[in-house]
């Protein structure tokens, strides 16, 4: 009943003003996952930008630091995220110009973003993003989400898009207060790996944002090289059953550069650090992945392939 009146409302408004605004997204980023841990926030996102069903961009940074105390991760339309970054830069600039020793904290920025998204939704010209805002200020950790129509809330662990369906169950099962950094990263990587396996718009290239003490800026990469291909080869040859506990490059600081890119972000009291892109080690030998249509013998999909095979073999062609 409600949807009927709403659709009527849409047509009423559209025919009235001849809306020329974007009503659907073009280049989109997939999920962002974030959680609170002992010292701050960890946030992870892959670096892919899809253009419909094409994975067009593979080096998009979807997590960015904001001011001194926060990081923002976005899924959805990338150009709208860039617009939001411009708004936030203006806010941070104005805040700095006051020069009063105070700086915008994550709660303030979250509130500002909520208002921006809600007001754009009111004008029927939404910024097509779901944003995750995380930060630490004066020891207080904050993690919140804002959707494109202004729905907002705070939580201990948040995921957008597909992450809500696939990563949240993992987070709900395994998150607890006072996760250590290693536990947090392992949990995040587990989430990202599941998303990589099952979300077709995910790319194996992640950003991990870290906060290090002593203001290590992200330009100073810590000489990481990803252990990707070599290890993978080794694993396949040894035919070992693997569990999820792959060692993270952040933990042992050994990883080789790989075309696959993941980035994790960490923010603590001391500051933000964004890692260099790295790839998660993946294992594809799961039984569920091999011969996926095994259980569907006789279904039209399997039948179609068999028929196509027969047709191609037939003498008429």
């Amino acid at each position: 009943m409600e949807s009927n009146s709403e659709t009527k409302q849409h047509t009423l408004l559209s025919s009235e003003s001849g809306i020329q605004r974007t009503q659907y997204p073009y280049v989109t980023g997939s999920s962002v996952v974030a959680l609170k841990y002992k010292d701050g926030i960890l946030m992870a996102a892959d670096m892919g930008g899809s253009y419909g069903s094409t994975l067009r961009y593979k080096s998009l940074e979807r997590i960015k630091p904001v001011g001194k105390h926060s990081i923002i991760g976005a899924s959805g339309e990338i150009s709208d995220f860039q617009e939001i970054m411009r708004y936030l830069d203006d806010q941070v600039l104005n805040d700095n110009m006051w020069d009063d020793g105070n700086s915008l904290g994550p709660k303030e920025i979250h509130s500002y973003l909520t208002r921006v998204m809600y007001n754009r939704r009111n004008k029927f010209d939404p910024l097509w993003n779901t944003l995750i805002l995380g930060g630490v200020k004066k020891g207080q950790k904050f993690l919140g989400m804002v959707t494109m129509i202004g729905v907002n809330f705070e939580e201990n662990h948040i995921a957008t898009g597909f992450g809500n369906h696939m990563a949240q169950p993992l987070l709900r099962a395994e998150w607890h207060e006072n996760l250590t950094f290693e536990e947090g990263v392992t949990l995040l990587e587990k989430c990202m790996r599941v998303l990589l396996y099952r979300d077709r718009s995910a790319v194996n290239k992640f950003q991990v944002l870290l906060l290090f003490p002593i203001n290590l800026m992200r330009l100073m990469c810590y000489g990481m090289r990803l252990l990707g291909n070599f290890l993978l080869l080794l694993r396949y040859s040894l035919r070992e059953p693997l569990d999820y506990a792959f060692s993270s490059p952040l933990l042992n600081c050994h990883c080789f550069q790989n075309l696959d890119n993941n980035v994790i972000a960490k923010i603590t009291e001391e500051g933000v650090t964004i890692s260099q892109p790295y790839a998660l080690k993946t294992f594809w030998g799961f039984k569920a992945f091999e011969n996926p249509t095994a259980g569907a013998e006789g279904s039209w999909v399997v039948g179609w392939r068999a028929r196509k095979r027969d047709i191609l073999k037939s003498p008429q062609l």
Partner: protein, 223 residues
Amino acid sequence: MTKQQARFEPYDFNGGTCVAIAGADYCVVAADTRMSTGYNILTRDYSKIYKLADKCMMASSGFQADVRALQKVLGAKHLIYQHQHNKQMSCPAMARLLSNTLYYKRFFPYYTFNVLAGFDEEGKGCVYTYDAVGSYEKVGYSAQGSGAKLIMPVLDNQLKSPSPLLLPAQDAVTPLSEAEAIDVVKDVFASATERDIYTGDKLEIVILNVDGIRREYAELRKD
């Protein structure tokens, strides 16, 4: 025929149920703390109850962004009122303000289902119930939101209030004591949680009485 695209839908239903009960010298407002979207749960710990004035609390369910905007708008208007009149707004005044605020957006409504609870000018409990565009009524008790239709009949049955259909009109305040009313609220939410997917996780109960404002929590089923 233009191609059908995924259209932008400005509304979402984030679920939740709110209940308010007025007694002779107390008022109980309760709401669950679950926020959902579609078949997902976004968070299990989101408060739907907002203090508008010392003697006036509002509980709202529906579309969370509109709820939050409504809370802020009313809060701002109340602040201006306090500056201009050097006193807090009374509950009946706030009730009319909420109605007018909702009707102001009659052609792009706040998708919110509200109950207002507080004390009227005589110090007796009062509850006002609203629809999304501002029609309101002073009642003795009310439920709004996704579980309202499950809860309202039970309240009609259990609260022993005089019937609203009687003439001359009698005040529909419940003769139950505060503790009894809180028990009814807990029972009623437990039942609604069983059958309504949008209700559950935790119940937040706010009790206003002569001693001030008190908050209680009760666990609900998380499935």
